[in-house]
Amino acid sequence: MQFLEVNKLCKYFVGLRAIEDASFRLEKGEIVGLVGPNGAGKTTLFNLLTGFLNPTKGEIDFRGETILGLKPHEIVKKGISKTFQIPKPFHSLSCFENIVVSVIANLKTAKGKGRGAEEKARDIMEVLGLREKSEMLPGALTQGDLKILEVAKSLATEPELLLLDEPFAGLSVSEIGQLTSIIQDLHQNGLTIIIIEHKLRELMKIVKRVIVLNFGVKIADGIPEEITSNRKVIEAYLGSGGSSFASA
């Protein structure tokens, strides 16, 4: 049984092809980068995987079951969770409450039973280094802490597949370092992760495999070393003269 199988997925908006025949498979425990120029369809793909958008055509199977037609909250309960490119914290709730509410929302599932929501939230804050900020409102956090809070909210849903949408966007070098080590720890603990990221140098240090989209079409899928030297990828990022530029 495949962990995640996306088969010939298409999404068309009125007059626009966002995703065209995207197919790929993911093994449990993989950490994969999803890259491509702006407008390539990366976030659309995340929205299709999490039920925020319905595909025009195609199949998405997660752990052997189709997740097509499920609502976002139902997909979260199946074990897929995503973070947002621009953090969306619950701004009137403290950091602690932001995580508690994410735990509570999933308490009815079998995996959430047995431990108190507050205890779980405290554990997550401890692991991600947010303990000191537990009573702070999100408005008082730095961009780096907001990104960590996004990850914390997702982890509170106890996902098996975590989708991170541009986690490094707008972060300083030290904040990227902190978030990188968090992502690596999560991966080492067995979490399957897909990361959308434009900061390729930082991304390539973490992931073992990269999928490249351009104008909604998958143009490459392989290990980071292959991807960085792939002519199609270079052209997608730098234009048709890109390959000569890159080879020079």
Binding site: V76, S81, K88, F90, L93, N98, V101, I104, S154, T157
Partner: protein, 334 residues
Amino acid sequence: MFYVNLKRFSFTSKHLLALIVLLFLFLIPGLIRDPYIWGILVMANIYAAFGISFDLLLGYTGLAVLGFGLFVGVGAYAAAFLNLYLGMPPWLTMPVSGLIGALFGLIIGVPCLRLKGLYLALASFAAAAICEKLVIVFNDITNGREGLSGLDPISFSNITNYYASLILLLVSTGILLCIVRSKIGLILKSICDEEIAAKAVGINTNWYKLLTFLISSFMGAFWGSFMAHFMMHAGPGVFGMHMAITIFMVTIVGGVSTIVGPVGGAYLLIIMNELLRGIGEVRLLIYAVITIIIYLLLPQGIVQPTIVFVSTGLRKVSNIFRIRNRSVGNSAIS
């Protein structure tokens, strides 16, 4: 939050203030021996209940249901039908009317779940306007614009009406405070803050919004029924713009997302309305100006700043007494 505070509960100056206010509300009939005033206070309690029910929708789920008068009207007419045509007593018509209001909440709530902001405000107001017209059209059973009169009163004594309304208001406020300070309240706040993010952490936002609609419409109809019995009349005006705006103002002036705020807002606005009655139509102008000033100076409503101000004063007074007692104790020891 509630689930945390229960473990760390300690009596604070805010609790002392709440006790003083409660004591005052229970002693008012003894202090002011005027049945007319008691009647005004009953209306203040009724509007306070409308306000807290509306606050659950607006302040905790972000649903601007401007046509809240719909639920009040359904409750009032349900009480009138049940009482006048089926002979049900008021103590029975009120909960049954609440259930009928909740059914309307479900009917209106399901299609309205897709709407937000101004669109929801207009759609709900349109639903209330349709009900108002239906009541006028079916005048054989509703008595048209005149409305239905002769409902059994809760009591012929205004002092009984006052205490009944006060106790029911306390129960209603208590129930809503328990809801908003529970885990459900936390989920409602998250939906109000960022609905998409709430969905992304696994919250069934539509279910919670519908739940809020049901609770709020039940309360609105229950109190609409209370109002009809108190006034012994149910007329089409309860569905109208005046009712909607009054409930909206009570909530905004008192303070959104507070539950207790609209209670203060209702007492202020209803009493102010009565005090200004003596000066004729100019009162509406003065009423509007005072309301605008409150909006400008205290956008968070009057109740929260008042609580902070008074409870800080109470704390300072208690500190002074504590210091005095300690110095008296020290001098006695020395």
